[in-house]
Every structure is written in C-alpha cells, then in structure tokens.
Symmetry: C2
Subunit: 153 residues, 2 copies
C-alpha cells in the first residue's frame, strides 16, 4: 500500500495541535539518568497550550530521571503518525502545591485526577524545545516543526 | 468508560506472542548513551520467535547507543495495550553479513527490505530479558511475563 501523501509543514502543525488537544492524550515518555539505562513508559499527558504536564509518583523512575537531568523525550500518536517532543523541565509541583489551573486542566483532559486518588504524586511541567511530526519516510526530511523552543511554522 | 477486565497472565502471553507475529510490527525504541540524554524513535521490528531485530543506519543515535551500552527498552502496541521489553544486544550484522534467515525474516514481516534499499544498515539482534504486558491499571500488578530472560508463564 502506498503511504499517504506528504503533508505540508503547516498542515502538520495543525494536526499536531489537534492531537495535543485530544481527550485521554497519552504519550511514550523516555528519560534516562545522567549515567545509566534509558527508561520508557506510556503516561497520560495534559497539554496546556504550550507545556506538557505529567503526574507521576516522586519515587518512579521517570520522576527521578527527569528531576535529575531536567530533560525527556516524548512520543505521541502512533508509530506511523508520530509527534516527537524533546522537553525540558519547567516546574515540579508536589500534589498539595499544584496550581489549580494545572490540576484542573490535567483532570479535564485525562481520564483520572491524581488529586482524587490520595497517593503521592508530583506534577512535572515540561516545556517543548523541539517538535517533530511525521507519518512515513516521505515526511522525514521536513519533520521539524519547532527548534530551540520556537515554532518554525 | 470502565476499563476492560484484567486478563490472565496466560492470556497476556498469548496476546503478546500474537502481537509479535503481526505484519508491519512497529515499536518505540528507547536507548541512551552511557552518559547522556535518552533517545526515542519508532522503528520497524522483526520477531524471530525469540529475538527482536531492528535495522538501522550505523550512524543513527539508536545504533550508536545500543552498540555502546548493549541495552534498549522497546514499547510495542498502543499506550493502553502495552508490551514492554527490556532487551540486550545479542549480535550486530552489517548489511553485507546478515544471515539470510534474519534478512528474509525482516523483509517478510516488515514492509521494507534494507537489503534492497542500497544504503548502509546494521541489523541489531536483541534478546528480551524482561517482558511486561498491560492495558490498564487493573493489570499493572501482574504485568511481568518474563524476568531475566525466562518466561514466567
């Protein structure tokens, strides 16, 4: 089967922003300690409009890695309809100190509310520095949508 | 919506093996250098029956990381129907030296044949050491299917 036609970068940005606004947004979150093995886990995500937010237990490998190195790489969508984001840690809020807008936004977009669970969670607010989007090989050469925190389109 | 009922571990192993046999099997491949930032990229996979095989350019970040550290973590399926494999590098074959069974198997299961492309690729043969499979929270506590290279079910 022939792959779909390559989209324009403008179309890809629109598709990316539409994906980020979806209910029950999940992503594959990759992190690593400063020295050691890479970790990968699928997590619920909240997109604030310019930040990705995850809520994780402070003792989790993901939380420990990101709090140590302040970076992660997050894959959204399907393996053949990818949005890839490199992110930097912007803020970390223990569950009792999360700003209402972030707590509410997370609970609204995802299908759970860490504040209602009663466990120990930390909200990590992640700023995209690089965004790439591609479906098939014909979109690879033009997959960059954001570099150094600035949208290119 | 209520999540689906938790599957037995036997059912999960059967589902995992069925997923691994699918045509056009893709996965999210995570790797990191010994010291540095984690990398993530979706790649075509071939399952030989007991090894995962990827074909990548030797200069790619994934190839360099795995050849350096000899480990990776690979997520298959969807974010709510996950098979997670920790793998160790078993063998690396430059494209001109790949055993016919691996080259043929890769070309048959995936939708491309690196041998026909004409570029420089290396086949990395990856041995699973740990396999986990889960859909929702109700399967998390029993997600282990393989430990230290041995199927538990």
């Amino acid at each position: 089967m022939a792959p779909p036609e390559a989209r324009s970068t403008e179309q890809r940005k629109a598709d990316t922003l539409a994906m980020l606004a979806e209910e029950n947004l999940d992503g594959w979150v990759t992190s690593a300690p400063a020295a050691g093995r890479a970790h990968l886990v699928p997590l619920s995500l909240h997109w604030t409009g310019d930040r990705l937010v995850i809520a994780v237990e402070p003792a989790s490998v993901t939380a420990r890695n990101i709090l140590e190195t302040r970076v992660a790489r997050i894959g959204l969508g399907a393996t053949r309809d990818v949005v890839m984001m490199d992110v930097e840690l912007d803020a970390a809020y223990p569950i009792g100190e999360v700003p209402a807008s972030i707590g509410e936004g997370y609970a609204t977009q995802s299908d759970w509310d860490p504040r209602a669970v009663g466990g120990d969670f930390v909200y990590l607010v992640l700023r995209p520095t690089r965004v790439q989007a591609w479906r098939e090989v014909n979109e690879l050469s033009t997959r960059a949508l954001m570099r150094e925190g600035t949208w290119l389109v």
